[in-house]
């Protein structure tokens, strides 16, 4: 353990987890906001500007800014080639959350995809223990 190791909310691994939850929330809000406003203008809707008419999009932007600040802190201490693949844990959390909380059906192909992401996360997380010692 090194003398400059960061604890509590200053721990980049904890903030990476926080960032994952923020992404989970803002991506769902982004989709809802974009769908609600897609028919406002045929031309401008492709630019995403019309989505600003939805309060959900604004809420998504606030959470996105919080997530960006957390992500910047994470990038300061963790290599991008490790932090970014780990941040994609969100792609497992969304379908699993829908299955556990909402009781939604998950197809065999989706289960296979989830298994691949989990194995990939485990492979990526292996060097993390060594990196942790350097923080």
């Amino acid at each position: 353990m090194t003398h400059n190791r960061r604890f509590g909310f200053a721990n980049p691994w904890l903030l990476l987890g926080f960032e994952i939850i923020c992404v989970l929330v803002y991506e769902l809000l982004q989709k809802r906001g974009a769908s609600e406003t897609a028919n406002l203008s045929q031309v401008w809707s492709w630019t995403g500007i019309t989505a600003l008419a939805s309060p959900l999009t604004w809420l998504a932007m606030v959470i996105m800014i919080i997530s960006l600040l957390s992500w910047l802190y994470v990038l300061r201490y963790i290599p991008l080639s490790i932090a970014f693949p780990l941040s994609r844990a969100v792609d497992v959390l969304i379908p699993l959350g829908c299955w556990i909380i909402l009781g939604e059906h998950i197809s065999p192909r989706r289960w296979f995809g989830i298994a691949l992401v989990v194995i990939g996360l485990m492979l990526t997380a292996k060097p993390v223990a060594r990196l942790e010692e350097k923080l």
């Binding site: 991008l80 970014f84 693949p85 990939g120 292996k126």
Partner: protein, 114 residues
């Protein structure tokens, strides 16, 4: 499927990957030089601009397409960013990390397409 899809999906992907690289470079430099250095501010600005472009282009796509169509392309960003980090930022990318990124990319594509 209309033409904006074939133009906007690559733009969103390029903006996202370049944004991540700019932000990582800025934060890496800030550890040594602090946030007042012109180089750090420039990279941070470029990163935020790229991520904002990605945000609005993705909003435009999501308004017209299903999440299950747009999201598999985002999944590809995992392997692209890992390789770009090794080439551009000179991060160490061993076989384990490459395999991990490949599996995550493939998994995200499968999860999104289902």
């Amino acid at each position: 499927m209309s033409w904006p899809v074939f133009v906007l999906i690559p733009i969103a992907l390029i903006a996202f990957v370049s944004g991540q690289l700019f932000l990582k470079h800025a934060m890496e430099s800030s550890r040594v030089k602090g946030f007042r250095e012109a180089k750090v501010i420039t990279f941070l600005g470029c990163g935020i601009f790229s991520m904002t472009t990605h945000f609005f282009v993705t909003l435009g796509l999501l308004g017209h397409l299903d999440l299950s169509y747009v999201y598999p392309f985002q999944g590809l960003s995992v392997i692209i960013i890992s390789l770009a980090a090794a080439i551009v930022l000179r991060e160490k990318l061993n076989l384990r990390l490459t395999l991990g990124a490949l599996l995550i990319s493939a998994g995200v594509v499968l999860v999104s397409m289902s």
